[in-house]
């Protein structure tokens, strides 16, 4: 059939490291949409929430096409209605090549850097730059190395290196320097090596399969590779994707290489960022780089204060801006840092820029499905009655509480050597662990015996 694309011509794509929160949403594998972007009832770990998922799918398509940059989306809904799940779904469907950075609103409050610096860094982590490296290399299997040492013991050594591919074989004359680096890498006949033409750097790729039986005793780290095909002198192209933030870090001279080790980069000067921006747009004009606007997801966005929001307003206008996805579970509440009330705790001018996706509480059937998926994810077998009881608990208390009960009930079941979680196990953990409303009830009844109790109960002020 069709030709294999030349190995030298296939750019390798390096994944960027993705930061994902594990646990509560580990079962999400995508948005669960069909080709027409209609949401399937249960798919890829997602259940229900058809309209929000469809909306997220539309946004996802636009992100993939690179059509929307510098836009912002807000996912709003009650606690436990799948806001984070939808964001995770978007992240999973984007694939490894689009940068996705997730953070919680409270992450920006740190003593080491200012709030706006933390936001800037998050923004720049969510923008990928694709670049290409091109090197001329000589790649072949070592047939023979012959090094002549001068009789006197001192003076320049000379030698010959025979390299082959499946198609050809040739002899290289070796100079002193080359001999040194060959012996430093302990290259022997049968090794497959590459030599970088520009720098003369030698890399051992492994031993050739044809020499696999040369020795019986072989270190476990010995790797066997095929004898290279084609020409000896190849051109190798590698495509890398790095984030703008990573480039900032290496260029932030005051930190030097220390920054990479500590993982703590501190603040980056705005001049450095401007320089990088200039350099990257220069590369883009020269056709050396592609910008990939990624996604920045800020969970619990109501934790940001008014300064952050005005910073976001401005940052979204810059031409190097990712798609911003935010999630909040607040209704009309005070904007942090002000005395004004606003929907979702977000200033009106910011809200005006947002596409808002609303999630609604799950129905009983959906709750049941989610619990089933979580059981599979946590490897817990649930009997039919226990499932019904758990669904009931999920409906009456909260979905999160019901999910918590799965693993605990699973443990109780294993302790009594059962294979399937029964209603008794659920009952037992239900009595052991209180849910939020029972806990508050308990507080109200026994508040006199607790320390520091205030007799007048004040509502928790969530806006601060």
């Amino acid at each position: 059939m069709a030709a294999q694309v030349a190995t030298t011509k296939v750019p390798e794509v390096r994944d960027i490291t993705r930061i994902e929160r594990i646990g509560a949403h580990s079962h999400i594998r995508g948005l669960g949409l069909d080709d027409a972007l209609e949401a399937r009832q249960v798919s890829q770990g997602m259940v229900g929430q058809l309209a929000p998922r469809r909306a997220a799918g539309l946004i996802l398509e636009m992100i993939k096409d690179g059509q929307i940059a510098g836009r912002a989306v807000l996912i709003a809904g009650q606690p436990g209605t799948g806001k984070t799940a939808i964001a995770m779904g978007i992240a999973q469907s984007l694939g490894p090549d689009t940068p996705f950075t997730a953070m919680a609103g409270s992450e920006i409050f740190s003593l080491e850097m200012s709030k706006t610096e933390a936001l800037s860094q998050a923004f720049r982590k969510a923008i990928g730059v694709r670049i290409k490296e091109e090197t001329e290399i000589i790649e072949g299997e070592v047939v023979e190395i012959q090094i002549d040492r001068p009789a006197t013991g001192t003076g320049a050594k000379v030698g010959k290196l025979t390299l082959k591919t499946t198609e050809m074989e040739t002899i290289y004359d070796l100079g002193n320097k080359m001999i040194e680096s060959l012996s430093k890498e302990r290259v022997q006949s049968g090794d497959v090596i590459t030599i970088d033409k520009a720098t003369g750097k030698i890399t051992k790729l492994g031993r050739s399969f044809t020499r696999a039986r040369d020795y019986d005793a072989m270190g476990s780290q010995t790797q066997f590779v095929q004898c290279p095909e084609g020409e000896l002198q190849k051109r190798k192209e590698v495509v890398h994707t790095v984030s703008l933030h990573e480039i900032d870090v290496i260029n932030s001279r005051t930190q030097g290489f220390l920054a990479l080790f500590a993982g703590d980069t501190g603040e980056i000067k705005s001049e450095v960022r401007e320089q990088i921006n200039a350099k990257v747009s220069e590369w883009r004009e020269e056709g050396k780089a592609e910008i990939i606007p990624g996604v920045l997801f800020i969970d619990e966005v109501h934790m940001l204060d008014i300064e952050c929001f005005s910073f976001l307003n401005r940052a979204l206008e810059s031409d190097l801006s990712p798609v911003l996805i935010m999630a909040t579970n607040r209704g009309i509440t005070r904007i942090r840092g002000t005395n004004y009330q606003s929907p979702h705790g977000i200033p009106i001018d910011m809200l005006d820029r947002l596409l808002i996706i609303a999630t609604s509480p799950y129905t009983e059937k959906e709750t049941r499905q989610i619990l089933k998926i979580r059981c599979e994810e946590e490897d817990v077998e649930l009997s039919e009655e226990a499932h019904t009881v758990l669904t009931r608990i999920g409906q009456e208390t909260s979905l999160r509480y019901a999910i918590q009960l799965i693993s605990t009930a699973g443990l109780v079941c294993r302790k009594r050597r059962g294979t399937e979680v029964q209603v008794e196990d659920i009952k037992r953990v239900y009595s052991l662990f209180l849910d939020e409303s029972r806990s508050s009830q308990y507080m109200k009844e026994y508040q006199d015996s607790f320390l520091f109790n205030e007799t007048q109960t004040t509502q928790m002020d969530t806006s601060k």
Binding site: K132, T170, I171, G230, Q233, I247
Partner: protein, 131 residues
């Protein structure tokens, strides 16, 4: 043959022709590189040869005794020509592989058409990639 079968056949021919084109170019590069390496070996041999002694050079199926200076410059010129040809072929190959992918309905390779960073820029980026 009915129409759809005809269309499938045409499509497959298209793919095969494009693939053959790519393969031919690849083989051509291999052959040229083989010659380039032979020339390089010859140049190395000439370096260790006494300058006043004539050398035997093979032209087609005939050996001719030739002064080393002249043969050296000849080979060097040939080398230059070979380098150029290989580079041209490689440049052309990219477009051909792209076309093949297109015909087969495969997505374009990511970052395929980027021009490479120069070595200085790469050095800076490398510290980031190879950590």
């Amino acid at each position: 043959m009915d129409e759809s079968a005809q269309r499938v056949l045409e499509y497959l021919t298209d793919v095969e022709v494009a693939a053959e084109d790519v393969l031919a170019d690849k083989q051509q590069i291999v052959d040229l590189d083989l010659r380039r390496n032979r020339n390089r070996e010859a140049l190395n041999a000439l370096r260790n040869h006494p300058a006043n002694d004539k050398v035997q050079v093979c032209f087609g199926n005939m050996f001719i005794r030739f002064p080393p200076e002249n043969s050296k410059s000849m080979i060097l010129k040939d080398q230059e020509q070979l380098d150029k040809e290989i580079n041209d072929l490689r440049a052309g190959l990219k477009a051909k592989v792209n076309r093949l992918n297109q015909i087969q309905g495969k997505p374009d390779l990511r970052g395929y058409n980027l021009s490479p960073l120069n070595s200085n820029e790469m050095k800076a980026i490398n510290s980031l990639i190879k950590k």
